[in-house]
């Protein structure tokens, strides 16, 4: 297969699929093991300086915000981050924890460009930025999930998104058509928030699944936070809903309102006022640090964070759910 073009971006972590197989054989429990623990324990055990890390879904939607805040609280630094983000990656950028980005989209959606991203990238504090499309990065997870080193796709072709990626264009040996090869992406750590999980890690999501299926299968360590911890009997009653099986999971954290100030479909709505508070604060370096001092460093854990936000407010976002 002839390589016609190579992206200029660095392959942040070249995938080793055989090592990944060995890892999954040796380092993951293949039986049912109790993995229930706190945010503090999960982050201190599995997230380390310089690790290659990703979060699912978006910072305003079913996002592991309690885990993301704990990463900041513990000051894990020089993170190499893969993916797309709103509030969660903004927090990490705002706390100067990110060294390298495999970026698809980081912004504030309706509120526009991220000022934390701008400050960190334009100053060069984020040292490397490699571009991908949302489809592209998810298919990179999918390649890992399939246990193969790359996948051919028809996105990114002809663009600078390709030029500044680490993808390659080749001629397909079967059809002769040009395809873009995207390399498998193996995360050191993945963070996913779900509606319910049991203590072994079997996880179920309601509504859209985003890229939870793929990211879960492409992570060497996977931390699940769940709105609800259920008995395994509940899982066994609806096994068709299990999108993340226990053997992928290393830690299960009980995190009610874990996606707040984002939403959790069918459970609570997003808190617009709280999101706007971050949008405003993040406009300046001082505002960002003041916000982090109040909402992250200033509280010991997720429970204290929820108390700071206030139960009245949390009840309000619960009551705002529109139903099905």
């Amino acid at each position: 297969m002839r390589v016609l073009e190579s992206g200029l971006g660095e392959l942040i972590q070249p995938p080793d699929l055989d090592a990944f197989r060995e890892w999954n054989r040796e380092k993951k429990a293949h039986g049912l093991v109790d993995k229930l623990m706190t945010e503090q324990e999960a982050i201190s055990r599995f997230v380390y300086d310089g690790c290659y890390i990703g979060t699912e879904l978006y910072g305003t939607v079913r996002c592991p915000m309690s885990l993301a805040r704990e990463v900041v609280r513990q000051g894990r630094k020089n993170l190499r981050v893969a993916g797309q983000g709103v509030l969660e990656l903004d927090l990490w950028l705002g706390a100067h924890l990110v060294k390298t980005l495999d970026i698809t989209y980081i912004g504030l959606e309706v509120y526009g460009t991220s000022n934390c991203l701008r400050r960190e990238v334009e100053s060069g504090r984020v040292e490397k930025v490699v571009e991908w499309s949302n489809g592209g990065i998810t298919w990179r997870f999918k390649a890992t999930a399939m246990g193969v080193p790359f996948l051919p796709v028809r996105a990114m072709l002809g663009s600078d998104t390709f030029r500044y990626s680490a993808a390659k264009v080749v001629e397909c040996p079967f059809t002769g058509m040009k395809v873009c090869l995207i390399p498998a992406l193996i995360l050191d750590v993945g963070l996913i928030h779900v509606h319910r999980a049991d203590r072994y890690g079997n996880s179920q999501i309601e509504g859209i699944s985003g890229f939870a299926f793929e990211l879960a299968r492409a992570s060497k360590r996977l931390i699940i936070s769940a709105e609800e911890i259920v008995d395994t009997e509940e899982i066994r009653r609806y096994p068709d809903r299990t999108i993340i099986p226990y053997y992928l999971v290393d830690a299960v954290v009980h995190a009610p309102f874990g996606s707040y100030p984002g939403e959790m479909v069918y459970m609570y709505e997003r808190d617009e006022e709280a999101i706007r508070e971050w949008v405003e604060a993040s406009k300046t370096e001082e505002g960002t640090q003041a916000y982090l001092n109040r909402y992250v460093y200033g509280v010991a854990n997720h429970q204290e964070y929820l108390e700071l936000v206030g139960w009245e407010r949390l009840e309000r976002v619960k009551a705002a759910v529109e139903g099905r």
Partner: protein, 256 residues
């Protein structure tokens, strides 16, 4: 001329909504495309099937989504799957329209939403990046671009091709390996409706917005447009369009 009773954003939303026929599938991104799709669904296109990249397909757009993954993107929807499914559906040719925006557009409809300035890293200005835009612009049959119209945005060359338009001209998309028969279809701007000449793939003026002259469009475009002998005029938003837009589509006034 009296003061118009609508703003430029409302006008763009109405013009974009009118471009969407009933009974088609359309990939919808954050912002104005969501409003346009919602307005179209409530006006003339009740069977418009919105596709949102994180898995929502066929939602009833009762309330305006503020993020491409939130519950409103699959409210009473037909499918709640994931990003691989929606992108692969588009890759197989099932998605008719895709809506895109950007910070810059060039005469071939190439779009930039990644950086401003000559250097990739560190850049002068860092923008959010592709997100799903590159995928949408690669796979959807017809992409409709919605943008504010001025010389800083309509430029001879974009600083970065985040999303491919017709790249360097006729045949370039196909030569790059992109699916044949796809590409930019319309540009809805604050000043005009534009398309791309079939032969040259260069941007062409179709119709000016109410109260806008051809000269104003030319003055606010950073490259030479194809100006046909007959340039149409877009109808202003109707009272009904504005009522639905303000009362039903965006009562919280996120955008308008």
């Amino acid at each position: 001329m009296g003061t118009p009773d609508y703003n430029p954003t409302e006008l763009m939303i109405c013009l974009a909504a009118r471009q969407i026929p009933d009974g088609v599938t359309a990939f919808i991104g954050t912002g104005i495309p969501m409003l346009a799709a919602s307005l179209a669904q409530k006006m003339h296109a009740p069977n418009l099937i919105p596709v949102f990249e994180f898995g929502g397909t066929g939602a009833i757009l009762k309330r305006l989504p503020r993020a491409v993954g939130e519950g409103r993107t699959f409210y009473r929807g037909l499918v709640a799957s994931g990003i691989c499914d929606t992108m692969e559906t588009a890759a197989r040719g099932f998605v008719d329209y895709g809506f895109l925006g950007g910070a810059q557009i060039d005469p071939y409809g190439n779009l930039n939403s990644t950086i401003i300035g000559p250097q990739h890293h560190p850049p002068k200005v860092r923008l959010p990046g592709s997100g799903g835009a590159n995928d949408v612009g690669s796979f959807c049959w017809r992409t409709i671009i919605i943008m504010r119209h001025d010389k800083l945005r309509f430029v001879p060359r974009v600083d970065f091709i985040t999303t491919p338009g017709y790249l360097t001209g006729p045949g370039a998309r196909e030569a790059a390996g992109l699916p044949p028969g796809t590409g930019p279809y319309r540009v809805v701007s604050t000043l005009a409706l534009l398309d791309f000449d079939e032969e040259t793939k260069w941007m062409r003026l179709l119709a000016t917005n109410p109260g806008v002259t051809v000269e104003q469009v030319v003055e606010n475009t950073g490259f030479e447009l194809i100006i046909p002998d007959r340039v149409g005029q877009n109808e202003p938003p109707t009272e009904e369009e504005l009522r639905i837009l303000r009362e039903e589509v965006d009562p919280e006034r996120f955008y308008i």
